[in-house]
Symmetry: C2
Subunit: 326 residues, 2 copies
Amino acid sequence: MANIKDVARQAGCGIATVSRVINKSGYVKEETRVKIEKVINELKYQPNEIARSMTRQKNHIIAFILPNSKHLFFGELLYHVEEELFDYGYKLMLCNSSEQLEKEIIYLDMLKNNRVDGVILLTNNDVEKYLNKTLPIVSFDRWFQDVPLVASDNYQGGILAAKELLDKGCKKLMFIGDDAQGDFTDVITDVSKRRLGFIDHLKSQGINDVINLEYPLQNYFVSENQFEHLLTPYPDVDGIFCISDSVAYTIIKVLKSKGKRVPEDVKVIGYDGGRSFNNLGKNITSISQEPEIIAKAIRKLLLNFDVNNSNKKIIVPVVLKKGDTT
Amino acid sequence: MANIKDVARQAGCGIATVSRVINKSGYVKEETRVKIEKVINELKYQPNEIARSMTRQKNHIIAFILPNSKHLFFGELLYHVEEELFDYGYKLMLCNSSEQLEKEIIYLDMLKNNRVDGVILLTNNDVEKYLNKTLPIVSFDRWFQDVPLVASDNYQGGILAAKELLDKGCKKLMFIGDDAQGDFTDVITDVSKRRLGFIDHLKSQGINDVINLEYPLQNYFVSENQFEHLLTPYPDVDGIFCISDSVAYTIIKVLKSKGKRVPEDVKVIGYDGGRSFNNLGKNITSISQEPEIIAKAIRKLLLNFDVNNSNKKIIVPVVLKKGDTT
DNA sequence: TTGTAAGCGTTATCAC
DNA sequence: GTGATAACGCTTACAA
């Protein structure tokens, strides 16, 4: 494979001039430029990106640390993030953490040694003390000290869900989620505002007896058994707002197994847009966040990263998408 | 950030010795080794991977070119491939092609310049002439000249589907897919063996009037309208084998809209394992391929790549997973 | 406007 | 066992 020296030799000039041509930097006489471009084509020369990274000490790669790519919302987000970065000349390195703190730590370390240009972080773990403050990092949905944040308007999502359930005449309401309200972890997740918005709005309407359920973080996979157990004490609930579509889906199955009809007996709302579960049966009514818009926000924060202004936030809007479960 | 020179200076030795210690290569006196390791810890030294890549002219990164990460099966495959590579010390670069040949070509070029260690290719496009034969490549489900292949046992999958439909008493059978049988593309996809296995088995049972439908490649997203149109001429079909779960799902919706009951009136089988569509309603009966096993096969072929033996194949087994649609 | 040369941080060769 | 030193292929002063 031809290198910059070959081009210089063939074109009868110095390598610096070739470099100037490739990078369109500095002055080059039109005549030499043409000559060099000709040689570049003949030799099919293309600059070695590793060598370029060597001088920059950056490799134009952005790493995305996330639990997995198996859940639809993550897969979607991943897709749009990659597209967005591609448009800006960056490549994406995928780092599945499987929600394990240890793996996140290993990755964070590795990424530093690899001199990636930045990291996107999506986690429920308390990685705060492992974050290298020199490396540009953007977090999604979880708040860390001095780390820029992108989140959907979780609070508003909670309000929208509350309104919908009230509209549909629900009397006995419940919130259920693993959104890390201090009982089980110290990480501050923006996601917990779904719960807050929900409860606050109901309070504002004079409803104070919301059943407020929390269960431990579970790597996003929850069993029916677990929910069965949680729901049993509340047979008269008729409206449930779930932290995610995935939870809503499981809850609906549990309700069915208990002989409840959805939405006739109990109305259920999820979060994420319902796209993952609009399949053979019902569509879930869901608070929808747009992965494409989130991806753009992340890219914006990451590529304009500034150490002195690292507490920026972008909150992306949400809407209620009516399905068949309310 | 400390570099190898700092360590050498601090330890009072040459950088070559430090290098030997880091890489556990060559002889180093126990005493010096201990001394150097001590300094490494003190300075929190970690080798710069870009510099390492510079000498190797390889960066320990494997790229995965695939249509997208939004479809569950792709998301799953991606997840397991990343895990598998991680275990072997490689990182994964995600390259969404959105099924566009142009984007695949750009990526192939880019990856060459980035000196990735290898590429995993999942495409329906005819990229054959853009494949750099010096770069280790493994293809999934599509056959290219001199490119190692991993595929599920598509032919066997077809047979299993045929058997199941016959077992369940179907009389009028149909195959439907975009599996590139020459009418619309030149790429040879292993996937088309699903069709072959299905039809061959039925023939062996004396059934020769299988309705054999093909439609153009569609970036994996197909509309109900399209299928509605395709199915209309065949109102008496009572057993359909679909190229994928995604297609099966849409077909089922179309059948329902036509007033057919599944599985009472028509039985439907998908391909991929049914995991994507086991949601609020029925589970799809499906031929299941295990992404985890596929990931291992890909890793094996890729990391043991040998130019002189580039026509290796690994066929991974499939099973029929009974759902509610047959 | 152009060329020389000094990095960038490793690994690997080759004397000692 | 160990240490100079030459690659690896580029960018970027600095000099001309």
